[in-house]
């Protein structure tokens, strides 16, 4: 990476409370995913991160196991306040939305007998399925620049889909076997 040395001092969170509030506010804006909101709030509005820093952090957050935005919030919190910052950012991201979603679940249980409510959720589930497929398709564009040759990518993807979606194989074996194959192919083709 040729990211220039930071030419200006970033603004930074003033306190743990500031960090907690910032992450709570952005989590509450994220319907169906928080990533886009993180970029807008922390890079464009608060300027705690430059765009380059954000992209690098996002790449690492994606490599790591675990929910990506949770990883990202932890890494940003850790940068300013160490472990306390990581935990604070994590709590900000999860605490209030968790309470909200449990309230929703209780409401839903009360009205689930209602045909309209059941229908609305069925419709939203179908849309969610489409959203997840769309995320996969958006990500697949990056395969063109992947060191794994495209025909191997397609083969690994197709076999993985058949094993997991159609044959219901346990995920661990599929990840180990096909992921391992991908890593070996990538390693061979990288310089």
């Amino acid at each position: 990476m040729t990211s220039p040395p930071s030419a200006f001092e970033h603004p930074r969170p003033e306190s743990l409370l500031d960090l907690f509030v910032a992450f709570t506010v952005l989590a509450l804006q994220g319907f169906g995913g928080v990533l886009a909101v993180v970029q807008r709030e922390l890079v464009e509005r608060k300027r705690w991160l430059s765009n380059e820093e954000f992209i690098e952090d996002w790449a690492v957050a994606q490599i790591m196991p675990g929910p990506n935005v949770v990883n990202l919030s932890m890494m940003i919190g850790a940068r300013y306040f160490g472990l306390r910052g990581a935990l604070t950012a994590l709590a900000g991201m999860l605490a209030v939305p968790l309470v909200l979603i449990l309230l929703l679940a209780i409401l839903h249980a009360r009205f689930a007998g209602n045909a309209q409510v059941a229908g609305a959720l069925r419709g939203m589930a179908a849309v969610s399925a489409g959203l997840i497929a769309a995320t996969g398709l958006k990500m697949s564009v990056a395969l063109k620049r992947n060191p794994v040759p495209l025909q191997w990518c397609v083969a690994i993807g197709a076999i993985g889909f058949v094993l997991v979606a159609l044959l219901k194989f346990p995920l661990a074996y599929v990840l180990l076997a096909l992921g391992g194959l991908g890593c070996v192919l990538a390693y061979r083709n990288l310089r």
Binding site: L28, Q29, G30, F31, G32, G33, V60, Q62, I63, M64, P65, G66, P67, V70, N71, M74, A78, A86, L90, L94, V96, L98, L100, I101, L104, H108, A109, A112, G119, A120, L121, R122, G123, M124, A125, A126, V127, S128, A129, G130, L131, I132, A134, T135, G136, L137, M139, S140, V148, G160, F161, V164, L171, A172, L178, G179, C183, V184, A186, Y187
Partner: protein, 194 residues
């Protein structure tokens, strides 16, 4: 209650649930959503702790609510606990699944993130990051398939497939806000079209 089932969970079942989510945590390379197919296999098919409707509703509700998508895991835990018979079990379910899905991955990420950041040009680091991409994408498409094929309960229900396909195209190809698409899906469902 919608699709509720009655189950009895012993202590070793709770431990089993916790252990399974800890394992999933370390496997969730495309985000928690990429392990959804495995959650389905474990909770719905293998143990019958969650009904198909509860499984789908957990994901749909989490998509419709603000906050990170990983909260669908909390809803699954909540529903497993409610199936086991009480609100306190439901809170135990939330704690079990959420701590399980977060603890290993966050400890791992916290430890590795700085190392990975410093060494991001190393060949093995790049090979791992890029080599996993095809299978991560396959997992997302598998999750979508499992959700779509079970959204209508049992049997082939073409209007739901059509809704899934068209919302996929809209979200993939346009910048329309997701909330509009979810709202349209909710409306079509409430009016009985899908």
């Amino acid at each position: 209650m919608n699709g509720a089932i009655h189950i009895t969970l012993a202590w070793h079942d709770w431990l089993n649930l916790f252990a399974h989510y800890m394992l999933l945590s370390l496997m969730s390379l495309g985000g928690a959503i990429s392990t959804t197919s495995e959650m389905h296999r474990f909770l719905v098919e293998q143990h019958g702790w969650l009904s198909q409707a509860q499984f789908n509703d957990s994901i749909a509700l989490a998509q419709a609510a603000p906050g990170p998508n990983v909260l669908f895991v909390a809803l699954m835990g909540w529903n497993v606990g409610m199936n086991a018979g009480s609100t306190s079990a439901a809170f135990l379910g939330v704690a079990t699944t959420m701590i399980g899905i977060l603890l290993p991955s966050t400890i791992f990420t916290y430890q590795v993130a700085q190392w990975g950041h410093r060494n991001r040009e190393l060949r093995p680091v790049r090979a791992f990051k890029q080599g996993m991409a095809p299978v991560v994408i396959a997992l997302l498409l598998s999750t979508s398939w499992i959700l779509a094929s079970s959204a209508g309960g049992s049997g082939y229900h073409w209007p739901l497939w059509l809704l899934t396909l068209s919302s996929c195209l809209v979200i993939w190809r346009t910048k329309l806000h997701l909330l509009w698409v979810l709202g349209a899906g909710a409306l079509l469902g409430a009016l009985g079209f899908v």
